[in-house]
């Protein structure tokens, strides 16, 4: 069985409970008191010490639009009557939140890059870095198409989301999914999550939110050369808005081609050098 996440960004309220739960359970060090100055999000991005990151995407537009974000109140109760005092629901702009995490790629570029075999697929079909094997070469870092992994400076090794391997082994769901108060983060069998995602997107479409789609499933859209993700997302906007690539690719797909090209070049250069020996 393959387990994974489904992160439904349309119900995320940006509470960052998942970020905190992850840090706490996995005993990840703090990232310092850095104020980004952009928004309420001062985490910024995923890293070796931040395995869940909630992005705060602000939509300041005054006019009401049915794309780009979700009218949570209307969605919850199908509210149609005017609000008290003619208050405009979108008067102050709205937020999109998205709790980002390692995508647990079906064919993981980080795993293919790792020269020590530290990165494996475990019995839950999750991509897992064995901390006792990694030697901190850092080659997985630029290989990941989502910028998930970094090398942790004082430790030297590379870290990322383990999908709470330890908790799963004990029959528990990952800490972030457990902590999420809106069930924006769902955990389970990837096949079940696919069905839930499709149903949820259909519901959103029927309510007029035509932009909703599943990111991370090859059939529905999202990923190119990496065979999809075990961590899927329901998004309401272009992937780039959430700092995700539209069509991530498998960097190692071309290693063979590069080897062939290099071999031809090597033969040609050798021949050229041999020719220069002629008088």
């Amino acid at each position: 069985m393959a387990t994974g996440f489904l992160t439904d960004t349309t119900v995320c309220i940006g509470c960052k409970a998942c970020e905190v739960a992850c840090k706490q359970w996995n005993q990840l060090p703090a990232d310092g008191y850095e104020l980004k100055g952009h928004s309420y999000d001062n985490t910024g991005h995923l890293s070796g010490t931040t395995w869940r990151h909630v992005a705060f995407i602000e939509n300041p537009k005054k006019q009401r639009r049915l794309s780009g974000d979700v009218d949570l109140i209307a969605l919850a109760g199908d509210v149609t009557e005017t609000l008290p005092g003619n208050a405009e629901l979108d008067g102050l702009g709205r937020w999109n939140f998205m709790s980002d995490v390692c995508k647990h790629c079906v064919e993981a570029p980080c795993q293919q890059a790792c020269p020590t075999g530290a990165i494996i697929r475990n019995e839950f079909d999750n991509v897992y870095i064995q901390p006792d094997v990694c030697n901190g070469c850092g080659y997985c870092v630029p290989a990941c198409p989502y910028g998930v992994i970094t090398q942790v400076p004082n430790d030297g090794r590379a870290f990322k989301c383990t999908l709470c391997y330890d908790r799963q082994r004990d029959g528990l769901e990952p800490a972030c999914a457990k902590a999420c108060p809106t069930n924006s983060i769902m955990f389970g069998d990837v096949e079940d999550l696919k069905v839930i995602a499709a149903e949820r997107v259909a519901t959103l479409h029927s309510k007029g939110y035509d932009n909703a789609f599943v990111y991370g499933t090859p059939e529905i859209g999202g990923t190119g050369g990496i065979g999809g993700n075990h961590s899927k997302f329901i998004l309401m906007d272009e992937p780039e808005t959430y700092n995700l690539p539209a069509h991530p690719f498998m960097p190692q797909d071309k290693v063979k081609g590069a080897f062939v090209a290099s071999s031809i070049a090597a033969a040609a250069l050798a021949a050229v050098v041999a020719l220069t020996f002629r008088d």
Binding site: N135, V141, V152, G225, Q252, S262, A265, A274
Partner: protein
């Protein structure tokens, strides 16, 4: 947030050119026309420090030295001075390279974990194994050289070593390994998500190899000149080979830049641009070519040429590694690359 607060805030922000993004929504926010999330890089750059480009440089020189020595043997124009240099240098290089690579590890004491497994799809793994293989062959060849040079004293053992080591076979067998090391330094960069490198996947290996061979030839020439050894015809062949190799390198670099197209921008701009254009294109290729094609060969001129080529090759590797860092840090480069058919796709031909 209102526009007023954003304008008042604008004064203190140096990094945004006075503009502040109060909100983030590319399609509805007129202040934000770029894709992405506050300009935060969507992928992470490699942490590599100076050891890596220096290793790339050393690997390239090793490939060039191996190529020249093996070919000279094959065509029957072996120069003992070159062979000797090649054998000692290979071992030196195969001792320095791992040191540089291990130095750069986050957990250097675990360097042997590279030997746990061999993955053909991981250029980093292939690199480790090829260094081990070439290092061992080089070691055997050096033993023979040392025996012949009398470093092992006199007696039965050195004579046995000198007789038993099949140097011709080994030297030819080792050549593909050395050439692989030289080209794999480029392939290693291309097998990542970094646009400028991944875009040029087909020519990264060949370009690094051509540059490596030209630095290797220059290295031989420089050492022979410094020690005032080597036959006249060897010097002459080296000069000719250097000319051709620099021209090949130029062709490959031009083709690479064309292939990188707009994702190659980091190579033309800023400090990296200065390093690449000044250090590699002008200093490391144009100037040596001009020297090589002008007038007759003199020792000083030849040495200057060699030094320029060697420095140009070093600049090339630093420029490419640094350009990759800039490329990875540029959200627009990555997003435009990972859309449409720009990035390598499983099915595509080129």
């Amino acid at each position: 947030m209102s526009d007023i607060s954003s304008d008042t805030l604008a004064a203190g922000r140096g990094d945004q050119n006075g503009k502040v993004e109060t909100s983030h929504h590319p399609k509805t926010d007129p202040k934000q026309d770029k894709k992405g999330y506050y300009g935060i890089p969507p992928i992470k750059h490699a942490h590599w420090t100076w050891q890596i480009p220096v290793y790339f440089w050393l690997g390239g020189i090793t490939a060039g030295v191996a190529l020249f020595t093996a070919v000279s043997k094959l065509v029957g124009k072996e120069d003992p001075a070159v062979t000797r240099l090649g054998r000692y240098f290979s071992v030196l290089s195969m001792m320095l390279s791992p040191v540089l690579l291990i130095w750069d590890l986050g957990r250097p004491e675990r360097f042997l974990n590279m030997m746990r497994i061999w993955k053909l799809r991981s250029p980093m793994s292939n690199q480790s194994w090829s260094l081990v293989a070439y290092g061992n062959v080089s070691g055997i060849l050096m033993l023979k050289q040392a025996a012949e040079d009398g470093f092992m004293g006199k007696g039965a053992l050195p004579r046995l070593v000198a007789r038993l080591v099949p140097d011709r076979v080994l030297q030819v067998l080792a050549l593909p390994l050395a050439l692989f090391i030289g080209s794999n330094t480029g392939t290693l960069l291309s097998a990542t998500s970094v646009p400028i490198w991944a875009r040029n996947w087909m020519l990264m290996g060949p370009t690094f190899l051509a540059s490596g061979v030209s630095t290797g030839l220059s290295f031989i020439s420089l050492v022979l000149n410094l020690l005032r050894t080597g036959r006249r015809d060897t010097h002459h062949t080296l000069q000719r080979a250097e000319k051709v190799m620099l021209l090949a390198e130029t062709g490959l670099i031009v083709a690479s830049l064309a292939r990188m197209s707009r994702w190659g921008k980091p190579l033309y701009t800023g400090k990296v641009g200065a390093l690449f254009i000044g250090g590699t294109l002008l200093g490391g290729i144009a100037a040596p070519l001009a020297l090589l094609f002008s007038g007759n060969e003199t020792r000083n001129k030849s040495m200057l040429t060699s030094v320029l080529v060697l420095l140009g090759g070093l600049a090339f590797r630093f420029a490419l590694v640094l350009a990759g860092r800039k490329s990875a840090d540029d959200p627009q480069a990555y997003f435009s690359f990972a859309r449409g058919d720009n990035a390598p796709q499983p099915g595509d031909k080129i």
